[in-house]
């Protein structure tokens, strides 16, 4: 899909509308027909504000917060600190969760080995053998930081730019600001792993607000694909209705709706007809999207053995690629199971197994199709984990509590500088000491790559100009852009 098709649809819709309505209406009427009414006052958009480096985003959300100490933020010297108290000069009275409040803070070094990889020498954890092969494509950021210390507000913050529920999510903003690139699928799709290998303990809840539209028109909210049953709710015809019967009945509905439109004169009736037709098309376009039968064996192999399982992260990565090809603007994958308060070494290898090969495959697959350059991939959790242990503390058995002051993530494609490690923390992976990146900075940088000035994409709402990055000082991290 491309802009010329969209514009053609637009012209067709307008011509059709003007013909059937017999009205020479102004743009605003047609605008309300196409866009729908909404609680939010529609602003005059001038997006994109600058040339786009990326056309779409795949956001790999690691819900539960993976340990940066064990996976990205390499601190070889920590080994000598085993079971030693974290110096107060480092913790500086940092508030902790109710779980470890008042407990001793003893350092738990990571038991995993890191190696420099690729030409760039990005340090990669041994738990990521596949991803290590793409080290030169990754920009690893070790200086992410956030405010919230609990999952729920922290996840809401990463997904919507505010800890308080009810704001538009990242994908909703993009859908709102940039519009649609396809005619058969939503702009914003959410894929959730149905299972994960790192243990089902401490599973954190997800909320539909994480992909909600807040006060933006709800057509911009994420459509969550189901991992079982219909990928889109109520997609399939119920038993006893085949597509011929459905078509026949829609023809009658259409004819009668059309007659009503000619007497009532409300263009909303035309919209209903159009959306029923769109629904009918989705009944084939969505199964075509989710049916992997056409994928050759070498592609399936690329994503690894889990790709054959319904609801696996690997399968969702492959689906994400197929959505990229079909013009979905924002694809967000949720993978849970990272909340390793205890027995981290028992859970971490499985979690990494889940994502390692699929992430690497996604990069390779997009590259070979020429889609890597304008697809921005972001992978991050909602916060980091403490360098000090929680629960049992042995060399090979430990856990970690929540830690908002620093965490790690990576970006790739979409005009991001590969082979870079950005931002530094102190010796304890506790405080950011160089090049901090707030969640808002991350948002601003993502928007920037999509051609959007984060200060200019806003809507008036409840007496303020609502925007993804809020009102705090925020900057685009130009240093990580190619």
């Amino acid at each position: 899909m491309n802009e010329s098709i969209i514009n053609e649809n637009w012209r067709l819709a307008r011509r059709q509308f003007l013909k059937t309505s017999g009205m020479g209406l102004g743009a605003s009427v047609l605008g309300s027909l196409m866009q729908q009414s909404s609680a939010a006052e529609e602003a005059v958009l001038d997006v994109p504000h600058r040339p786009q480096r990326a056309k779409r985003v795949i956001f790999l959300f690691m819900a539960g917060a993976p340990s940066q100490v064990d996976l990205f933020d390499y601190k070889p010297e920590l080994d000598k600190q085993f079971r030693k108290p974290l110096p107060p000069s480092v913790s500086m009275g940092q508030r902790v969760t109710a779980m470890t409040q008042g407990r001793e803070q003893l350092v738990a070094p990571s038991m995993y080995k890191f190696h420099p990889q690729g030409e760039s020498g990005n340090y990669m954890c041994e738990l990521f053998p596949f991803l290590s092969q793409t080290a030169d494509d990754l920009c690893i950021v070790n200086s992410l930081n956030t405010n919230a210390i609990n999952h729920d507000p922290a996840k809401t913050f990463v997904c919507t730019g505010a800890e308080i529920p009810g704001r538009p999510s990242m994908g909703a903003w993009l859908s709102y600001g940039l519009g649609s690139m396809n005619r058969d699928l939503p702009d914003f799709v959410v894929l959730n792993s149905a299972f994960w290998t790192g243990g089902m303990r401490n599973t954190q809840a997800l909320y539909s607000r994480l992909w909600g539209s807040g006060p933006l028109p709800s057509k911009h909210q994420g459509v969550k694909f189901q991992t079982a049953g219909d990928p889109v709710l109520f997609l399939s015809n119920p038993k006893g209705i085949d597509s011929g019967i459905r078509r026949r009945m829609l023809d009658t509905a259409r004819a009668v709706n059309q007659q009503h439109f000619s007497t009532i004169g409300d263009p909303e009736i035309e919209t209903t007809i159009a959306q029923q037709e769109m629904a009918f098309r989705m009944q084939s376009s969505v199964p075509e999207l989710t049916d992997l039968a056409g994928e050759p064996k070498h592609i399936l192999d690329l994503y690894g053995p889990e790709v054959t399982k319904q609801g696996s992260f690997a399968r969702n990565c492959l689906l994400a690629r197929r959505m990229v090809e079909r013009g979905v603007r924002f694809i967000q994958l949720f993978h849970r199971g990272w909340d390793h308060h205890t027995i981290l070494p028992k859970q971490m290898p499985g979690q990494c197994y889940d994502i390692d090969q699929p992430c690497a495959a996604l990069i390779d697959d997009l590259k070979q199709r020429g889609l890597f350059e304008d697809t921005l991939i972001v992978c991050a959790g909602e916060f980091g984990r403490t360098v000090y242990g929680q629960g049992t503390l042995k060399r090979d058995d430990y856990g970690r509590d929540h830690h908002p002051r620093c965490f790690s993530g990576w970006l790739a494609g979409g005009g991001i500088k590969g082979g870079l490690t950005y931002g530094e923390t102190d010796d304890f992976s506790y405080n950011v000491v160089k090049d901090p990146v707030t969640v808002r900075d991350l948002h601003a940088t993502m928007l920037h790559q999509l051609g959007i000035d984060h200060e200019r994409l806003s809507i008036p709402y409840q007496g303020l100009d609502l925007r993804l990055t809020g009102v705090e000082p925020t900057r685009v991290i130009h240093e990580i852009l190619s």
């Binding site: 909320y207 997609l235 006893g240 009658t252 009503h260 200019r456 007496g463």
Partner: protein
């Protein structure tokens, strides 16, 4: 792309003629200044540039002030007004708003408006919504009810004529949906058509106002406003039972509880000298906020979060002003300050309850309750409970006695063994008694309530809204930009606050309330931004009408049914919604009301209509929330295994056929039948739902299994009835669902559909069996025929007119 978006979002200004007539500060100027200037030159002290504020004329920072030889705004003189020089400057360093800022430059028409205003003397006026409403004079040059006169005067000014009265079928359908959320029955339609008397319509209205479904329907809007739900909304998203509050709302609307009491009960029901059960239940308003369950969060933070959520809901529900942003900074557009907000919060920070829900043990958790709460027992239940309590007490005493005697037994092994057995029995007995009491308790409805602590917690301004950064201490007070409280002796409490809200002099409460009822009946309020009556809200389309309704509402003793009655009896309300191209072009959004309004119904109304028209609806009132079926796995996909409940289990029998107001609302994953059609998640207060029209909605209405089952049921009912001809049967179905009869050509379409589908199903009988789930068709009807008629009915359920109130 760019040009397309611009096209999409251009909207016709409602009042395009102001440039040529009188400029009003509130309507025409303030919105421009608020949007482009107030960020740096507004009410917020901290961000003010050049010691200049443009939100007021007077004062050392005001717009008329002279500073270093320049005057920001010199009334009547463009040349001497620095503002004019700056907004028209071509110098990039001087032009306002600054080029490098996030605000778009002023448009030519905005500059023209400001020019006209300065030339006219740059008059400022107090912000309309903060000045108490007074009864306006009725327009004398037009006829009709007061409502109609205000509307007609405006139409006349815009050169539009009102539309004729809607036909009787449309009218009874409209008013029945608007007052009960349900469609009229065929019998009700026929009776209305046959009633030629002048009072026919009025009688219908009065009948509907007496229907118990009136309260259910009005409660739906209120529950959005106060974010009512059945789970705690954060972290585990556990069950939290507030159904008795919901039932109280329904009963209050049905009993026409005056709105001032409706307000008092909720804000301060617990503070009556001897509160009734209803007053206590209503105070559960303060328990509707999201609340985290005990575990990982810091209680102090949770406490603050709850208080702020409470104040925000009061701001949205009663004040009609957004206060959320004042949590962190002074308002940039409205005169609300942080101190105002935290002074208001001081009324709500003193609940005698834990800041987090907690503890999985005991019956409270299973009942979805957290103290303080009251058990809503009747006499019989009280007696039974007392009996069970006595048994627990008895078992406890007995066990204590046994423990004591064991110590006295001495060393005799035999006696010791005997004692151990007795002790074990005693423990078992106590456990059984406790279990029996808890099992019984679970069956008793309860209500979480508000309860004040005996001593008063101090309240502080929280710097940047952070719970751990208290600033200046504040005492309970109302916002300074609104009239002060009257006649308060000693420490102010929530009852004083409630009385202040419903004081006839309060500029906002009545306006905000009548506007929401208007919005309910017309699809859009007189003030479109019903959530925000502040400077960034929209100017009312009919300011006089709004004030008339507000004053009348207060004078009537806050009579909600009276207000609804007056509105639906107006000619304005009863107009046909058909739009000629001319009318549509002139006012596509129908803000001027030259025609009846037409909008898609809310999700609850659509579902309830399907249940009701198919005869499946279980009209039972009140009770615990119920779970109609939904697609598998939705809760599992987002929930935690340790959530209570973690797995969705649909109810059975006629519980799944209750009205949607009783549907269980999990905030983390509300029922898709509701959210797909724009129902909010109930995490935040919502004054108006948006209305989209999406393919996902089309899929829902086409394929939802329960909706299809209802179509099959209606087809069955009609095929089983004595009416024999196919056209007659078609008429019955169409009339049942849409309240109208089909036109001859529509009837032809339907007949052809039934014929075609009958043939299709006859050639594929297995499909017919699947569709009808192998149930027995009506006598004399074949399975393929039943299937074809089911699909016909489903077709009619999927028409635009079916889901639309017009």
């Amino acid at each position: 792309m760019k040009s397309m978006n611009v096209l999409f979002f251009v909207s016709l200004p409602l009042v395009a003629s102001a440039v040529y007539g009188e400029v009003r500060f509130d309507r025409d100027i303030r919105p421009i200044l608020a949007d482009r200037c107030f960020q740096c030159h507004g009410p917020a002290d901290a961000d003010r540039e050049a010691d200049l504020r443009l939100d007021q004329a007077e004062g050392t920072d005001g717009a008329y002030r002279e500073s270093a030889g320049t005057i920001a705004i010199q009334p009547g003189s463009l040349e001497q007004s620095e503002v004019w020089t700056r907004i028209t400057s071509r110098d990039p360093d001087l032009v306002m708003p600054p080029l490098q800022g996030s605000k778009p430059p002023l448009s030519a028409s905005e500059i023209a408006m400001l020019k006209k205003w300065i030339e006219q003397g740059a008059p400022y006026e107090d912000f309309w919504a903060f000045v108490p409403p007074t009864a306006p004079k009725f327009p004398q040059d037009v006829q009709g009810t007061p409502i109609d006169r205000f509307v007609l005067r405006k139409l006349k000014a815009e050169g539009l004529d009102p539309s004729p009265r809607a036909d009787k079928r449309t009218l009874i359908r409209r008013v029945t949906f608007d007052l009960t959320g349900l469609p009229p029955t065929r019998e009700e339609i026929h009776a209305f058509i046959e009633d030629d008397s002048l009072e026919a319509y009025e009688n219908v209205v009065d009948r509907l106002l007496q229907s118990p479904h009136f309260g259910e329907h009005l409660a739906k809007f209120w529950l959005d406003l106060v974010r009512f739900a059945d789970t705690n909304g954060i972290h585990h998203d556990h069950y939290r039972d507030l159904s008795s509050y919901r039932d109280w709302v329904i009963r209050s609307f049905n009993a026409n509880l005056p709105y001032d009491d409706f307000t008092r009960y909720q804000l301060a029901g617990d503070l009556y000298p001897e509160p009734t059960r209803d007053q206590l239940i209503a105070s559960g308003f303060h328990r509707l906020h999201l609340i985290i369950d005990r575990g990982t969060a810091l209680p102090e933070e949770s406490f603050t979060r709850n208080v702020l959520d409470r104040v925000t809901s009061v701001g949205t529900a009663f004040l009609g002003i957004t206060v959320q942003c004042v949590v962190c900074h002074d308002h940039k557009y409205d005169p609300m300050t942080m101190k105002d907000f935290y002074s208001l919060s001081a009324f709500f920070n003193n609940i005698d309850a834990a800041p987090e829900t907690g503890g999985r043990n005991g019956s409270d958790f299973l009942r979805g309750l957290q103290t303080p709460y009251i058990n809503l027992t009747d006499q019989r239940q009280e007696a039974r409970l007392a009996e069970l309590d006595a048994q627990v007490d008895g078992a406890t005493v007995e066990l204590e006695r046994l423990k004591k005697s064991r110590q006295e037994v001495g060393e005799d092994e035999e006696k010791k063994a005997e004692m151990e057995t007795l002790l074990k029995d005693g423990e078992k007995h106590l456990n059984e008694a406790t279990q029996a009491r808890n099992d019984y308790l679970i069956t008793i409805p309860a209500a979480m309530v508000m309860k004040e602590r005996s001593d008063q917690r101090p309240a502080h301004v929280l710097i940047r809204g952070a719970y751990d950064h208290p600033g200046e201490q504040v005492s309970r007070d109302t916002p300074k930009f609104l009239p002060p409280m009257k006649n308060v002796q000693g420490e102010k409490n929530r009852m004083d606050l409630a009385n202040w809200f419903v004081d006839p002099e309060h500029p906002l409460t009545a306006r905000v309330t009548v506007n929401r009822f208007w919005q309910q009946l017309f699809g859009v309020g007189i003030v479109k931004t019903s959530e925000d009556f502040g400077a960034q809200g929209e100017w009312p389309t009919h300011p006089d009408l709004l004030d008339y309704l507000a004053v009348r509402f207060v004078d009537s003793g806050w009579d909600v049914k009276g207000l609804m009655r007056e509105i639906v009896l107006s000619d304005t309300y009863q107009q046909s919604s058909y739009a000629t191209p001319k009318v549509f072009q002139q006012d596509p959004q129908n803000r001027l009301l030259a025609r009846g309004s037409r909008f898609r119904m809310d999700s609850e109304m659509i579902r309830d209509q399907i249940l009701s028209s198919s005869g499946l609806l279980n009209p039972e009132l009140f009770g615990k929330s119920v779970k109609p079926p939904q697609p598998d796995g939705l809760w599992k996909a987002v929930g935690m295994p340790s959530s209570y409940p973690a797995v969705f289990v649909a109810d059975e029998g006629d519980k799944i056929l209750r009205r949607s107001i009783y549907t269980f609302w999990k905030r983390g994953m509300p029922p898709p039948q509701m959210t797909i059609l724009n129902a909010p998640s109930r995490e935040v207060c919502t004054t108006r739902r948006e209305r989209t029209n999406t393919p996902l909605q089309a899929l829902l209405l086409l394929n939802e299994p329960e909706y299809l089952r209802a179509a099959r049921q209606l087809a069955f009912n009609v095929l089983a009835a004595p009416e024999s001809s196919s056209p007659g049967q078609i008429d019955v179905i169409v009339e049942t669902v849409t309240s109208h009869l089909p036109t001859p050509s529509e009837r032809q379409n339907y007949l052809k559909l039934v014929t075609d589908l009958s043939a299709l199903y006859l050639s594929a009988p297995e499909l017919a069996e699947e569709l009808c789930e192998n149930e027995t068709p009506p006598e004399g009807v074949t399975m393929p025929e039943w299937a074809a008629w089911t699909m016909l009915t489903s077709t009619i359920y999927n028409l635009d007119v079916t889901k639309t109130r017009q």
